[in-house]
């Protein structure tokens, strides 16, 4: 594993992304065959396939779930990469800046009001909550039309704490069964969603990635500091706002349908930064692909390890990603400290 990243060439960019894309495609194809219910592809595609449980299992319930995992993983990981880049802080991730907490507060209110975790109000409220939280943090940390990475981070962390307290207030007032619903929602699950939902989140993921890629060059320059970036022609405030908004959209769409799945947005971009170097033009799309593959595998584990029952996928991402991340940190620490 090389910490010294070579200069980014077109060849390296294409080769790395092609490799990750193949990895993701293989992961998705393989994960469709991993699950607690036995199913045969031959029967599903056979002459009477349409009415078989095999078809319903493989293509009706498992494939949408695998694809949802891929787009949610891609979104969270890309959002994390962008936030870490723009804030120049390795601890930045969608869940630290209060974006998800805003979604959680709104979702909890919707859950208490609608009384059903299946209510279509829930993802809409979560989405709106994430955007409101982003606006509060983004504009709150601004004065005289300017902001600093520090201010955003501090505002985000404190907003997060306030939102967490609000959530506890709602839980204290809600009935026991509603609290249960809120807690399970918070843990994050990739339950099977309709194709429409999968497509909607995929659309947000794609738009978010393209939007961020257009600012990848600015992100690179911002890493040199606000003044230097401005001298090199970057409209610092605009760029920061645009990247922040894109990261918020990616997070909002993911959290709305899958709850708070932790560690993907923190660990994957971090790991890639260690391996691939800090160039955002490579880091952003690489995070997109690797985050997707990571969550696909984490969810495959979540739905099989206790079979037929499932684990919350957030538990799996934290328990697999966390220790691995610590191990990598220790290795790079050993190299940096003489």
């Amino acid at each position: 594993m090389s910490v010294r990243a070579p200069y980014l060439t077109r060849g390296r960019l294409v080769a790395t992304l092609a490799l990750l894309a193949v990895l993701l495609a293989v992961s998705i194809a393989a994960a469709v065959f991993v699950g607690p219910a036995p199913a045969s592809l031959a029967r599903a595609l056979g002459p009477d396939g349409a009415s078989t449980p095999d078809r319903a299992i493989l293509f009706g319930t498992r494939l949408p779930r695998v694809l949802l995992g891929a787009v949610v993983g891609a979104s969270l990981s890309t959002a994390g990469a962008a936030l870490q880049g723009i804030l120049g802080n390795p601890l930045a991730c969608p869940h630290v800046l209060g974006i998800s907490a805003g979604a959680a507060v709104a979702a909890a209110i919707a859950l208490v009001a609608a009384g059903d975790t299946m209510s279509p109000l829930l993802p809409l409220a979560a989405f709106a909550g994430a955007l409101v939280a982003t606006a509060i943090v983004g504009f709150g940390a601004r004065a005289h039309g300017r902001t600093t990475a520090h201010a955003i981070l501090l505002f985000g962390v404190v907003f997060n704490a306030v939102a967490a307290a609000l959530l506890m207030l709602i839980e204290a007032l809600a009935s026991y069964r509603q609290v249960h619903g809120i807690l399970f929602w918070m843990m994050g699950t990739l339950s099977t969603q309709s194709w429409v939902v999968v497509a909607a989140v995929a659309l947000y993921a794609a738009v978010g990635l393209v939007w961020l890629l257009r600012h990848a060059h600015h992100l690179n320059l911002l890493a040199a500091g606000d003044e230097d970036a401005a001298r090199l022609g970057v409209d610092v405030e605009r760029a920061r706002l645009a990247v922040f908004a894109a990261a918020a959209l990616l997070t909002a769409a993911s959290v709305a349908v899958a709850g708070m799945i932790g560690f993907v947005g923190l660990v994957v971009p971090h790991l890639l930064r260690l391996v691939l170097g800090p160039d955002e033009r490579l880091l952003l799309p690489a995070s997109f692909l690797a985050g997707a593959a990571f969550l696909v595998w984490a969810d495959a584990l979540a739905r099989t390890v206790l079979g037929p029952a499932e684990l919350p996928v957030g538990v799996v991402t934290a328990l697999t990603g966390g220790p691995f991340f610590l191990y990598l940190l220790r290795r790079s620490l050993a190299r940096v400290l003489p």
């Binding site: 449980p53 299946m118 209510s119 699950t189 099977t192 309709s194 499932e310 919350p312």
Partner: protein
């Protein structure tokens, strides 16, 4: 079947009396020798049992979720089932407090005992707990005969429900208690016992935990004949969740049925009603047969 056998029941009764007596002798001066006159209940199931024993007039405080029978709703509240208020309980000056272990009442129970209040802990997870709780509470309240009568009556009514479904084909049943994520009734629960009593087979009984979360594909694979939706929320939510699973017999035949009666969720004196309701959902012809016969 899991009804209380008479003889071991008597042993339990004697034991319960002995334990209750010992507890009195050890820690408290008996309140003027008589049975407790002021009673606080910290769980809905206990409140229902106290009323069923005809001692509802002795209740001076109940938990926030204690909503049945209707008279219970008018009683002073002493905090929630999850976290009771120690101060509110003490202010009610109870001779005895009945508690069921909840996720958050352990500290409160210890605090009440430190304050010198007599606390009796019973359980309400399965039918065996219900028999035990009825006898214990009746013994503590000084009405052991009424406890025996209530227990026998409940057991007889459950027997009757089971007798009505005897010989009928047993449908495969999935009982849902949460929509997203999908949480269902596993083995070792009151609801699992009620499904069996009502003449069904719980397809998630082997899932490993009491309340397993299931991936939707497992519902397809287990192919239940009936899906009983006892989740918080709306019937529409449940229908939307399963609508696409057209290979599942319950979905194909329109047998995703709602059961929103909280009697189904508490090991209290209304379990025979819950069992009867469930039996009618699992065996649609049953209600008519009963009316005809």
């Amino acid at each position: 079947m899991t009804f209380p056998p008479r003889r071991p029941g008597a042993v339990v009764l004697v034991l319960a009396l002995a334990v209750a007596g010992a507890a009195c002798g050890d820690r408290l001066p008996p309140a003027a020798g008589g049975p407790p006159a002021r009673v606080v209940s910290l769980a809905p199931s206990v409140t229902e049992i106290v009323f069923a024993l005809g001692a509802g007039d002795r209740l001076v405080g109940v938990c926030g979720e204690c909503d049945h029978p209707p008279e219970a709703a008018r009683l002073p509240r002493v905090g929630g089932w999850v976290v009771p208020s120690v101060e509110a309980v003490l202010a009610a000056r109870p001779d005895v407090v009945f508690a069921v272990p909840s996720p958050g009442n352990h500290e409160a129970v210890l605090a009440l005992e430190r304050a010198g209040t007599r606390v009796e802990v019973v359980h309400d997870r399965v039918l065996a707990d219900l028999w035990d709780a009825v006898r214990r509470i009746a013994a503590v309240l000084g009405v052991p005969a009424r406890g025996e009568q209530l227990g026998a009556d409940l057991a007889r009514r459950l027997d009757e429900v089971h007798a009505r479904v005897a010989g009928l084909p047993a449908p495969r049943v999935l009982v849902v208690v949460g929509h997203d994520p999908l949480i269902v009734v596993g083995g070792g629960t009151l609801q699992d016992e009620l499904v069996r009593l009502a003449g069904g087979v719980n397809v998630a009984a082997d899932a490993g935990t009491a309340w397993p979360a299931l991936p939707l594909e497992v519902v397809v694979a287990r192919a239940p004949d009936v899906i009983v939706d006892a989740a918080m929320g709306t019937d529409a939510g449940g229908r939307r969740l399963f609508a696409r699973l057209t290979t599942v017999p319950a979905v194909r035949d329109g047998r995703v049925v709602a059961l929103r009666d909280d009697a189904f969720l508490r090991a209290g004196p209304r379990v025979p009603d819950a069992a009867a309701e469930l039996a009618e959902l699992l065996h649609p012809g049953l209600a008519r047969t009963r009316d005809a016969g």
